[in-house]
């Protein structure tokens, strides 16, 4: 085999290429918006957006891990909703707040384990397994709350979301911590390695002496716990846990994850890409809002942006050209 000299470089580039493109796109967007709407580039606006997205971004970290492991988790939004409800109700019934939080997170862990077992042991299709738990959980929320927002939280609970440390809003700090932690886990610990290999080839992973089932359960627990964390920040931001919270979260998050270059078949992807996806989607929405473009058009643009991004990624991988959209004959280049 002739290995042409620049193999390694090519390898790294093709791995980095897409993220670079996303960054470039983001910069272009900032430039464009900066010209269209100076208020866009104000520190105030940027901090506002970053704070706002920290919750969904935290969930996206978990979703990325799940998808890399070859799974899919539709229940994130519901977990994000149910955890603060549990905490609020517990606290409302005189349970000390610390314990209430522990119970809330425990609930999330249990949900994660259930998802994991349904998918790993009972071999459910992830999408349908988590759809079922999602449906059930949402209903449990209604039963618990009778559909009314829960707002029994202690004084100063809102500081978690509204407070800041060294001038940086706490949610952003939490998000950064989560990103750093999971970037590290995925890249430099064996569990990260196992998660990738489970998504890449479960059979081979199993034969290599790694319990694929455990990894699978693990990732759903991770996803649930991160959703719980997001839910706590969310409820602290609103000082209220609304039973309908997170109804659209799952799809938003998945959109960002896919846009970040994580492969839906598992085994490939990374958290930084996902974060870029989150940033792009949310700063586009923010920009559209500032430009006064209404929600209808936003939906359309979102779809188009996703297509362009993923289309570009596919081109990078398999060297297709836009023109091939219109070419009659298909080649497999």
């Amino acid at each position: 085999m002739k290995a042409s000299k620049n193999t390694k470089k090519a390898g790294i580039l093709s791995r980095m290429g897409y993220e670079l493109a996303l960054v470039a796109f983001l910069l272009v967007w900032f430039l464009f918006m900066g010209i269209m709407k100076p208020s866009f580039l104000t520190l105030n606006n940027i901090v506002t957006v970053l704070t706002r997205i920290s919750e969904v971004a935290i969930i996206a970290v978990g979703m990325t891990v799940v998808i890399i492991a070859g799974g899919f988790d539709l229940s994130v939004g519901t977990v994000m909703a149910i955890v603060p409800v549990v905490i609020g109700i517990c606290y409302g019934n005189g349970i000390p707040f610390g314990l209430a939080v522990v119970l809330g997170v425990l609930a999330a862990v249990v949900i994660g384990i259930i998802n994991g077992i349904l998918i790993a042991k009972a071999r459910f299709q992830p999408i349908i397994g988590t759809l079922a738990t999602m449906t059930a959980l949402r209903s449990i929320i209604y039963v618990l709350t009778e559909g009314k927002p829960v707002s029994t939280f202690p004084k100063g609970y809102d500081q978690l979301a509204h407070g800041s440390f060294l001038g940086i809003p706490i949610p952003i700090l939490i998000l950064i911590a989560v990103i750093v932690l999971f970037q590290w886990i995925m890249k430099s610990t064996k569990y990260g390695r196992f998660i990738y290999s489970t998504g890449g080839n479960p059979k081979a992973t199993n034969i290599a002496g790694i319990s694929v089932d455990r990894i699978t359960i693990l990732v759903y627990v991770v996803s649930a716990v991160l959703s719980a964390l997001a839910g706590i920040i969310f409820s602290s931001r609103l000082i209220s846990a609304s039973p309908d919270a997170g109804t659209n979260t799952a799809f938003d998050v998945v959109t960002a994850v896919l846009m970040g270059g994580t492969s839906i078949n598992g085994g490939q992807g990374n958290i930084l890409g996902t974060m870029l996806g989150i940033l792009i989607l949310n700063f586009i929405i923010n920009g559209f809002n500032l430009l006064g473009i209404n929600a209808y058009w936003q939906m359309i643009f979102m779809g188009v942006v996703l297509l362009l991004a993923i289309g570009y990624d596919a081109k990078r991988r398999s060297g297709f050209a836009i023109s091939s959209l219109f070419r009659r004959k298909n080649s497999d280049a």
Binding site: K2, S188, A204, G209, I210, D332
Partner: protein, 498 residues
């Protein structure tokens, strides 16, 4: 002097970072059997894929009966009259045998698919190959070997003028191979050309008229089979002389390090018992479907077995319930199908090699990339794995080198008891020799190896003792010098019984 049927000139194909083919030429005459040989990664399959339209983005020219042939898609090649048996199985597991055989060419009766006819025609061709499965059986339930035969059946039913066979016998055992040889000769007799790719020279010399050689993506040359000598061909292939004779091992065989007792799984194998000594290679021979793979999978805890026990280091233990347990017990397993079960193709050489090691020690969760690199570099050197870098994705390695990565993975796990299922399947002579040397080295270091193989010469050449299996039962364990190949075959086919 027969007409030239197909002529390839200046075929060049580059993959990211790899020049797979460099101005390659090839020509096949009518009613000719042309053998195409070359090391793993020489570019044989790539050339085939280009020729059949399965691969794009290449340069060069294809002349078919003197006219330029445009192939953008496999069905175009088929319509031109080229049918192909690819190296990888190209069957759809969820549909029936008949459908797979006639996929895309389903016989129709006024508009609707004519199932009766399709099944009948399939039964006919399967008969010719004496494969005994129902045309209505789902392919996914068949053994790898049977699937290979169905691929052959498909190629035959296309009544093409050129049939390409890319390592058709890699998962077949003697019996099926001889059937295939017969069929190829028939084809030739009927004026059909065959492009035959294989790493097995006995086959090549039996059926081919000419031999063309590729090396490192370059066309080296062609020779007529009758006036070609194996060693010359090997030199053309490898660029150096390779010794493919099996070496005598001198290491002493120690005491029992591993034993299996009364291993049984209903429907697969029954009451298997054997011992493995330190420094010993125990060959496992048998016909395809004898259940050797299933036995190995059961020993390694992949499939649940109904009953049985193992003894390791004098301790009698229940069968491992998972590969994880087997790994902890110091067993390693090189599976039959390296792409499906041996490697995570999307991961690099480095990541694949250390997977078992990481899985084994429950301490240090953090990966020390320096240590890891040096470890892998070491194995790459020791096993002479040909790869541009250890970051290269294993997907992009050639068969032999992929197999070496799998072996490296098990050496890294420090398992002393190794089960190799078809370790040289689809691997070129050079790499084969290297793998044999490696196995010799391992046993010399006190490893014990159970080697499942369908290649009789390999079994006899490498093993100290040979376990022959027939329909899931042990037909006996023999000292290697105590049996002849013929005897082994008769035990394997159960001929000895009647």
């Amino acid at each position: 002097m027969a007409e030239t049927l197909l002529k390839l000139t200046g075929i060049t194909k580059e993959f990211p970072g790899v020049l797979a083919l460099n101005k390659v030429q090839l020509d096949i005459k009518e009613a000719e059997v042309l053998a195409l040989v070359g090391e793993n990664g020489a570019g044989k399959s790539t050339l085939i894929k280009i020729l059949t339209g399965a691969l794009g983005g290449w340069s060069g020219e294809i002349l078919w009966k003197g006219k330029p042939l445009k192939v953008n898609h496999p069905w175009e090649a088929q319509q031109a009259g080229i049918s192909t048996i690819y190296q990888e199985l190209t069957l759809c597991p969820d549909i029936t045998v008949a459908e797979n055989v006639f996929l895309g060419r389903e016989p129709k009766k006024h508009g609707a698919i004519d199932w009766a006819k399709m099944n009948a025609m399939t039964a006919e061709v399967l008969e010719k190959l004496d494969v005994h499965v129902a045309p209505t059986e789902k392919v996914g339930r068949l053994t790898v070997a049977t699937q290979q035969l169905i691929e052959i059946a498909r190629a035959l039913t296309m009544n093409a003028q050129l049939i390409i066979m890319d390592e058709p016998t890699s998962s077949l055992s003697e019996h099926e191979v001889s059937t295939l040889m017969r069929i190829v000769k028939d084809l030739k007799a009927n004026g059909i050309s065959v492009l035959y790719i294989s790493h097995k020279f006995n086959e090549i010399f039996e059926i081919s008229d000419r031999i063309s050689v590729l090396r490192d993506g370059e066309y080296i040359g062609s020779v007529n089979t009758e006036d070609a000598k194996l060693d010359d061909v090997l030199v053309m292939m490898v660029g150096r002389t390779v010794n493919i004779r099996f070496k005598e091992r001198t290491n002493k065989i120690g005491d029992v390090i591993f034993a299996v007792e009364n291993l049984t799984t209903a429907g697969a194998f029954e009451d298997l018992s054997f011992e493995l000594h330190e420094g010993e290679i125990l060959g496992v021979s048998g016909l395809v479907g004898a259940g050797r793979t299933e036995m190995a999978r059961a020993i390694f805890g992949i499939d649940k077995s109904d009953s049985g026990a193992i003894t390791i280091g004098g301790k009698k233990l229940p069968m491992p319930r998972s590969p994880k347990e087997a790994l902890k017990l110091g067993i390693g397993f090189l599976p039959e199908d390296r792409k499906e079960e041996g490697l995570v193709l999307l991961m690099s050489v480095q990541e694949n090699s250390t997977l078992t090691a990481l899985a084994k020690n429950r301490h240090n969760t953090v990966i020390h990339s320096k240590q890891e690199r040096s470890l892998v570099e070491e194995y790459v050197k020791k096993l002479t794995i040909k790869t541009p870098s250890i970051e290269q994705l294993t997907r992009n390695l050639s068969g032999g080198n992929q197999q070496k990565v799998v072996i490296a993975k098990w050496l890294a796990s420090e398992s002393k008891i190794l089960i190799f299922d078809e370790p040289t399947r689809g691997i070129d002579v050079g790499a084969k020799a290297e793998i044999y040397d490696l196995m010799n080295e391992l046993v010399a270091q006190g490893y014990g190896i159970i080697m499942i193989s369908s290649e009789l010469p390999e079994v006899i050449g490498m093993s100290d003792r040979i376990l022959v299996m027939h329909e899931g039962r042990s037909a006996g364990i023999f000292e290697k010098d105590a049996v002849t190949p013929e005897e082994i075959m008769s035990y394997a086919t159960g001929a000895d019984r009647n």
